[in-house]
């Protein structure tokens, strides 16, 4: 066990000087309009809302709030573009447009990354190395499918659905837009998409890219707004398909609204994934996987490994190493290239996380937080562990969507599986072991859409993603992701 004599010290010492990404190269307009029918248009109601930098609480821009009339206009533009242009276009031509979006996005990657971090609070290292490259990769990947759909579904005639209404969350703003738009376009659908109200800026930059790429007007329409705008999209009779990523709570409302309609839908909702560490695992790499599982993107990840299940015989060792690793996580300015944990996305989300920290303590869990010094302004949260918890604790059951990990132990393989599956969610899971057979058994027994073995939070456009149970319906990504935007005729 740790004693004062053999504890490692990480505080003080050689400190990295600030290394902020510059913002000279980007331009953010004072005001953003709606992108409808290939043009930037003012909202009918004349209303705008603010988007702030969560690291400084300063206003970045004002963004149009789409009214019911604006959504109607967008859906009509999408319908016209669908019937007159996009569904009639040769698939290879459609592919060319999508490739063009991907390439422009790559060229402007630095700008996208900087704005993503400014608007959403995620560390520049992640937006630069993960969000933006993956977004471009999704467009590249689905561009390739545009003229090969018949090979994807042999013996069937794939037909587009029509107009897709898409509602995306604030945790991966551009990446989720890419996940939604790229397959929809490749399959011949047109799109009305609503970015989250706290992170609309990269979507508006994407609107510029789409305009620059010369996409026919109305193929992609971007309507900014809050829940009401989303509801307008869901309820609009001119929509053929709804694709939603967000909370299980809102997902339920959407599913109710869609019941009895002819609209098809995919829902990608919450999660409370188990990250399972067996005693025979490569423990240091497993610790790294725990960190990537829960502290990636401040824990604002639906597939985050927010429940750690560690085999009893190595639990103390693993937790000790994890605490030492947490001591080296740098929390602060998202634009600093050395920041590991950036800002919590919004005041509201910070309140939610803090509510859970309180609940955890009140329920008797032992809380551990790193010694990180938080900036005075902005929304920040220290990386946090809860130990001494069980399946009956709310911090084990409910999605916190923050840098908060609930730690439990297990003895046997079956106990690990039982605990992993004892949740209403089923989005993802992780298993760490040196034994291949255990990995295969684990992947069969855990009821979750994605299982990572000896790694965590790895994404690729070729791999399907989606949930069981209350984590959602349908799959995005890969071949499966095409299916969600097609009607397969015999």
């Amino acid at each position: 066990m740790a004693t004062p004599e053999n504890e490692l010290a990480f505080d003080g010492g050689w400190d990295y000087a600030p290394a902020p990404e510059s913002t000279d190269h980007i331009s953010i307009k004072k005001r953003y309009e709606l992108f409808i029918d290939g043009e930037f248009v003012k909202p009918e109601g004349g209303k705008y809302f603010e988007t702030v930098n969560p690291a400084t609480e300063e206003r970045l821009s004002r963004v149009a709030e789409a009214s019911t009339a604006d959504v109607d206009k967008a859906v009509k533009a999408a319908r016209t573009a669908y019937t007159k242009v996009w569904s009639k276009m040769k698939p290879a031509e459609r592919g060319k447009y999508i490739y063009r979006i991907a390439r422009i996005m790559q060229e402007r990657a630095r700008e996208f990354a900087t704005i993503e971090s400014l608007d959403g609070g995620k560390p520049i290292r992640e937006s630069r190395d993960i969000d933006i490259p993956l977004s471009a990769a999704h467009f590249f990947y689905y561009a390739g499918w545009a003229d090969k759909l018949e090979y994807a579904f042999p013996g069937r005639k794939p037909k587009p659905l029509g107009v897709a209404g898409q509602i995306i969350p604030w945790n991966f703003p551009l990446l989720m837009a890419a996940w939604k738009i790229a397959p929809a376009l490749a399959c011949g659908n047109t799109v009305v998409i609503k970015p989250a109200e706290t992170t609309p800026l990269t979507a508006m930059k994407l609107a510029e890219v789409i305009a620059d790429a010369g996409l026919p007007p109305g193929v992609v329409n971007i309507v900014t707004g809050a829940g009401k705008t989303g509801a307008d999209i869901v309820e609009h009779p001119g929509i053929d398909k709804i694709a939603f990523t967000g909370s299980t709570e809102v997902g339920r409302i959407i599913q109710k609204a869609l019941a009895g309609t002819r609209k098809s839908y995919t829902l990608e909702l919450g999660g409370k994934a188990a990250n399972i560490i067996f005693a025979d695992a490569a423990l240091d790499q497993a610790v790294e996987g725990i960190v990537n599982g829960i502290f990636f993107n401040q824990g604002h990840v639906c597939c985050a490994g927010s429940r750690l299940l560690v085999q009893e015989s190595v639990a103390d060792e693993v937790i000790r190493r994890l605490k030492d690793r947490m001591a080296t996580l740098r929390v602060g300015n998202p634009l600093d290239k050395n920041t590991d944990i950036g800002a919590i996305n919004s005041r509201q989300q910070l309140d939610t996380i803090q509510k859970y920290l309180k609940i955890g303590k009140e329920e008797g869990a032992e809380i551990y937080q790193s010694a990180a010094r938080l900036p005075k302004k902005g929304f920040f949260c220290k990386p946090t562990l809860f130990t001494g918890v069980s399946q009956s604790n709310r911090v084990v059951q409910e999605e916190i969507f923050g840098p908060v990990l609930a730690v439990q132990t297990f003895r046997t393989f079956n106990e690990a599986i039982a605990k992993a599956n004892n949740t209403p969610y089923g989005l993802s899971g992780g298993v760490w072991t040196d034994k291949g057979a255990k990995i295969f058994k684990m992947t069969q027994d855990i009821r979750a859409g994605v299982i990572w073995a000896n790694t965590f939070n790895k994404f690729d456009p070729t791999s399907p993603f989606g949930g069981y149970k209350e984590s959602g319906v349908g799959r995005e990504g890969g071949l499966h992701g095409l299916d969600a935007y097609l009607r397969l005729e015999a």
Partner: protein
């Protein structure tokens, strides 16, 4: 020595159960190393890191063609890294063959620079224990206060861990007060799992430092191997409370790479190891690249390599 030592080193003299050493996943190690390399070290942090790097260098010449003259030159460089830049540290040690130790001792008289000597039939270690121990004693008697020994890789790979362990214990004893660095020659061990086990074995046998390579085998030091060894040092420290030093050697010739190593050291073992007492770079050409970078930080421009002495 004796019983007092046994109480501070609870497992000394006993081969540890190497089956309990955690597995190492190479893919994960590569990812962690990439994270260290993505740290951006600028301004004061860079200058401090570069100066620390200089102070951690074991300036090395280990050639069959070494002469007393060459070793004197090396010592001169060790003392006078670049006198036109005031405030520079001197290197931690010079590292030479046993026959050159007396020359180095003479040249470094009055300076606080350690004399490291390779021993134990370096670099292959293919000799009898008697010769290895004599080799060690000769170097120590000539004035070396640090001994860099090689392990018997053949025995280790054959699974004869006790043999390797006993050899290190014997060499440690022959060192007397001299510090013992144990070279694992990781380029011959083949897997990170073996590197981790060999590290544990060497530390339990009494190593003061563990060192990656002789510099005679490729690959020599890599960040992956060094990270694995640093994690073994951490585990040993958790278990025993005894600090063990780390020396990557061979292949670290750029200032940028050296800074990546320091990031890795700091984020794996913490502040206490960030001194020449606990970390060394075994290198011959690293010093000049670091000096060039320091000059660049000072003046804003790169100078020709011809402005930096090569010895």
């Amino acid at each position: 020595m004796g019983s007092a030592n046994v109480t501070t080193l609870p497992t000394a003299g006993r081969l540890p159960d190497l089956s309990r050493v955690p597995a190492v996943d190479e893919v994960g190690v590569n990812e962690r190393v990439a994270r260290f390399q993505s740290r951006s070290i600028k301004a004061k942090a860079k200058i401090d890191g570069l100066k620390l790097t200089l102070a951690m260098i074991d300036l090395t010449t280990l050639e069959g063609q070494d002469t007393p003259g060459k070793v004197r030159q090396l010592c001169q460089k060790a003392i006078h890294l670049h006198d036109s830049m005031p405030g520079l540290p001197h290197v931690a040690a010079v590292c030479v063959y046993p026959t050159m130790v007396s020359v180095a001792k003479e040249s470094l008289k009055g300076h606080d620079i350690n004399i490291a000597s390779v021993a134990t039939a370096f670099p292959s270690g293919m000799s009898s224990l008697d010769i290895k121990l004599n080799d060690t004693r000769i170097a120590v008697e000539a004035g070396a206060n640090e001994i860099d020994m090689v392990i018997s890789r053949g025995a280790f790979l054959a699974g004869d861990y006790q043999h390797v362990f006993d050899e290190i214990v014997a060499v440690k004893e022959a060192c007397g007060d001299a510090h013992l660095k144990v070279i694992l020659e990781t380029g011959e061990l083949g897997t990170l799992d073996r590197v981790r086990r060999a590290s544990e074995l060497a530390m339990h046998a009494g190593a003061d430092f563990i060192k990656t390579s002789t510099g005679k085998i490729q690959p020599a030091a890599t960040m992956q191997v060094t990270l694995t060894m640093l994690q073994a040092i951490r585990d040993y420290y958790y278990e025993t409370g005894r600090m063990v030093g780390m020396k990557p050697a061979g292949g670290i010739s750029s200032a940028k790479l050296a800074l990546h190593y320091l990031v890795m050291l700091q984020e794996t073992l913490g502040n206490a190891w960030m001194t020449p007492e606990w970390f060394r770079f075994g290198a011959s050409s690293l010093a000049n690249d670091v000096l060039m970078q320091l000059k660049k930080q000072e003046t804003g421009v790169y100078q020709s390599p011809d402005y930096f002495s090569k010895d």
